[in-house]
């Protein structure tokens, strides 16, 4: 135990020292803490706003959906590869040392808990929106964040136990998977029953998403019950749920330790996978190392051969070939389906929950939401993946041509997605087709701009090692680039309010396209040096 204590103390100390020795990291943490302090002071000092808050039950529903999504994803992934509690250095140094496996487990759990809590601190950025939208205090927001982190931790602990039980048996794995889906299905079932009982109207959503029955379904329901009981000041109820969670956690840990003292093998694969993936990420390589056996069979190779291309445009045809493997419809893939679903759901929520929205207005807001999501997804495009391979730098073609062709599919995809998403949305909402066209154009132009922003960020910050700082600077940079176009459109809207949405919005679309072209031109030599982006 002494060794574990020493390890924890040293790691905390070195973590702090590392921050102090790296000005960029220090700056990021100072900025982050300053932001939190600002939010806190702003909340404390602001007079209570007399405004129409959204129904708290809506937040309850959103919280539960988030828990279910994160929990199911985490549990299913842990079932495949084991829990992600230990890292490779733990395996190499602790597992082989004469430290008791129980002490090692205690250390792993503690580290995991701290890691999850830290990773959820970013949720504090949404605290302002939560405070403005719902009748909730800053303490309530903190509770939401802490309980969400605790939930993920609990899922991982439970996964540790489940994995040790099912490991190596396909039947048991299938049963455990069925159990996870059953918990999810129970939530959906309760929601549907209560929604139908209350008349299947928009108003019926509220009692359905905040039903006390949902709170009895492990594990997400217990957490939702606990946190919202705390927020509502129902301390006895909160304590009851917290006690249930604590007992569940303690039993899981005891069972795990009792049944699987030799648990090292169960966590080894994930530790190795995570280590290799992290190493690959450090080197800006795509992770191609060990894969789960089940994952291998998932890709349909189908027709082989790139078929077209010569010189720089080979990258484009290669990306098409790869896209064909990912989806039989090439550009229309899971992302398209997810974005369409997000749009439809957000459209109907906006229309039903917020008064005063026309179908066109609701569609515009949902387009805004999908652009926000696109911002995060754009970084996963073919263009970014290509940078991780040496070929883009080695192929004997002019760098500008390579840059254009390598990013072509990343630019085309949101354009085609936009057409599909907003054509379906237009039909579903019976909205003005011109508004739909504008949403598609805006979505496509933002996709182009985000890709250009990515190119510019590679040019400007590519050699910086701190990804957090890069992300922050990238967001600021994009805001600056987008601002003139948005301002122009707003000015046109104010000057000519009678104009169609599409006409008012065209300056923003035009600006996005023009500035993206300029960025590409100014970064034309980006691919001359790997070091510019590594």
């Amino acid at each position: 135990m002494k060794a574990v204590n020493y390890l924890i103390r040293r790691q905390v100390k070195n973590f702090i020292k590392d921050i102090l020795h790296h000005p960029s990291k220090l700056l990021l943490y100072i900025f982050f803490i300053a932001f939190l302090v600002f939010v806190f002071i702003d909340t404390v000092k602001s007079p209570a706003k007399q405004r129409d808050f959204k129904d708290m039950r809506l937040l309850q529903g959103i919280f539960l959906v988030l828990l279910l999504f994160l929990g199911t994803q985490n549990a299913l992934s842990s079932l495949k590869k084991g829990s992600a509690i230990f890292s490779m250095p733990d395996v190499n140094f602790l597992f082989v040392s004469p430290v008791s496996p129980k002490a090692v487990l205690f250390y792993g759990l503690l580290k995991q808990m701290a890691g999850i809590l830290l990773s959820f601190v970013f949720m504090a950025f949404y605290s302002g929106t939560l405070l403005d939208t719902f009748p909730i205090t800053l303490g309530g927001v903190a509770l939401l964040i802490i309980f969400m982190a605790l939930f993920i931790f609990s899922v991982q602990v439970f996964s540790l136990l489940t994995y040790s039980f099912v490991h190596g048996s396909q039947k048991r794995t299938a049963a455990a998977r069925a159990l996870i889906y059953t918990a999810l299905g129970l939530n959906v079932l309760v929601f549907i029953i209560i929604f139908c009982r209350n008349g299947r109207t928009a108003a019926a959503i509220y009692p359905a998403i905040s039903s006390p029955y949902l709170e009895y379904i492990p594990l997400a329901g217990w957490f939702q019950g606990a946190v919202f009981a705390f927020i509502a000041g129902q301390m006895a109820r909160a304590a009851a749920f917290t006690a249930v969670i604590a007992v569940f956690l303690i039993i899981s840990i005891i069972l795990f330790v009792k049944t699987d003292v030799d648990y090292y093998e169960d966590v080894l694969e994930t530790a190795q996978v995570r280590f290799e993936a992290a190493e690959a990420a450090k080197d800006r390589r795509a992770y191609t190392g060990r894969r789960n056996v089940n994952e291998k069979g998932k890709v349909r190779t189908g027709r082989t051969g790139i078929g077209k291309g010569c010189g720089a445009n080979t990258f484009f045809y290669k990306h098409i070939c790869e896209a064909r493997r990912r989806s039989r419809f090439v550009f229309a893939d899971t992302t398209t389906a997810v974005m369409l679903t997000v749009n439809l759901i957000s459209y109907f929520i906006i229309l039903n929950v917020s008064a005063g929205f026309t179908s066109d207005g609701a569609m515009l807001v949902s387009a805004g939401i999908s652009i926000y999501i696109l911002f995060f997804m754009n970084g996963l495009g073919d263009w970014t993946r290509e940078l991780a391979k040496p070929y883009i730098y080695l192929v004997p073609e002019p760098p500008f041509k390579k840059l254009i062709w390598a990013s072509m599919t990343t630019i085309i995809k949101p354009a085609l997605d936009g057409v599909v998403i907003f054509a379906v949305m237009c039909a579903a909402a019976r909205a003005n087709p011109l508004t739909g066209l504008f949403c598609a154009l805006l979505y496509a132009s933002c996709g182009f701009l985000f890709t250009a922003g990515n190119v510019l960020a590679q040019r400007l910050f590519g050699s910086m090692s701190n990804r957090g700082v890069i992300m922050l600077l990238y967001i600021f940079m994009l805001i600056i680039i987008m601002a003139p176009g948005a301002a122009l459109s707003l000015a046109v809207r104010d000057a000519f309010p009678q104009l169609q949405v599409i006409v008012r919005g065209l300056p923003a679309v035009g600006w996005n396209v023009a500035v993206s072209c300029l960025v590409f031109y100014f970064c034309r030599n980006l691919l001359s040096f790997f070091s510019d982006i590594s």
Binding site: I306, C321, P390, Y391, P396, F529
Partner: protein, 238 residues
């Protein structure tokens, strides 16, 4: 032919390569040897045009980052990174198209055969083991028939058959006039193939010896290597 003049590479305060000067002639296999952290991989990456540096690097008379130079050299990286969603055969097609190669299919098949990848040509990059990933890297680098070849620790992860094949290929390339620069810290692996040894230490070239010089002096490559790396790094001169 590879000419390196005054190659200097700094990572912030760390001087990874300090004013390197060397030449690899046509039909010559040069070995860049040195302990871990000597700056071998950095030098190779600078020559491959992947890193910024100070100095001049000429490949077949062209500045190393020019399209002409890129057309002339092949690079086998230390860490293979195949394209996960392309099959082995498509890797060959990709290179052929990107490098605008003609009549490449027979050569590609031959390379795949020799690396025992021919029967795996419909396997995706993501399905390959570490060793196979390295083999596909080798095939990709050799398909354009480079006049200059850069190899960064190429034997890591290869099976004995592939090692034998790679050595044979290097001899064939040398016979065809290709200049080859291979970085390694495993001297045993290059015992049979080297013509010139460039021994690096602390970012500098501490010694340059040809095979003839070493054989005539009676000194072995290992002895030379250890006298430099364990003896301060400046004893041998150039």
């Amino acid at each position: 032919m590879l000419e390196v003049h005054g190659l200097t590479k700094k990572y912030n305060k760390l001087l990874a390569n300090d004013n390197l000067d060397f030449t690899v002639n046509d039909g010559e296999i040069a070995v860049l040897a040195g302990p871990n952290g000597a700056g071998k991989s950095t030098a190779i990456k600078c020559i491959a045009g992947l890193l910024r540096f100070h100095g001049d690097i000429l490949i077949c008379g062209h500045e190393n980052k020019s399209v002409e130079a890129k057309r002339s050299f092949g690079y086998i990286p230390e860490m293979p990174a195949p394209m996960e969603m392309l099959t082995v055969g498509e890797h060959m097609e990709f290179i052929a198209r990107a490098y605008r190669l003609q009549d490449w299919r027979g050569r590609a098949d031959d390379l795949l055969e020799r690396m025992e990848l021919y029967d795996k040509r419909d396997k995706l990059g993501k399905e390959l083991s570490k060793g196979m990933q390295q083999k596909i890297s080798i095939c990709c680098a050799l398909l354009p028939q480079p006049k200059m070849l850069l190899l960064d620790e190429p034997l890591v992860g290869l099976d004995p058959h592939a090692i034998k094949q790679l050595k044979e290929m290097l001899f064939e390339l040398r016979g065809g006039g290709c200049s080859i620069l291979e970085s390694t810290h495993m001297l045993d692996s290059v015992r049979d193939v080297w013509d010139k040894a460039l021994i690096m230490m602390n970012g500098r070239i501490a010694a340059v010896r040809t095979r003839d010089e070493v054989e005539k002096s009676g000194e072995s490559l290992e002895e030379l290597f250890f006298s430099i790396t364990e003896g301060g790094g400046n004893g041998a001169g150039q």
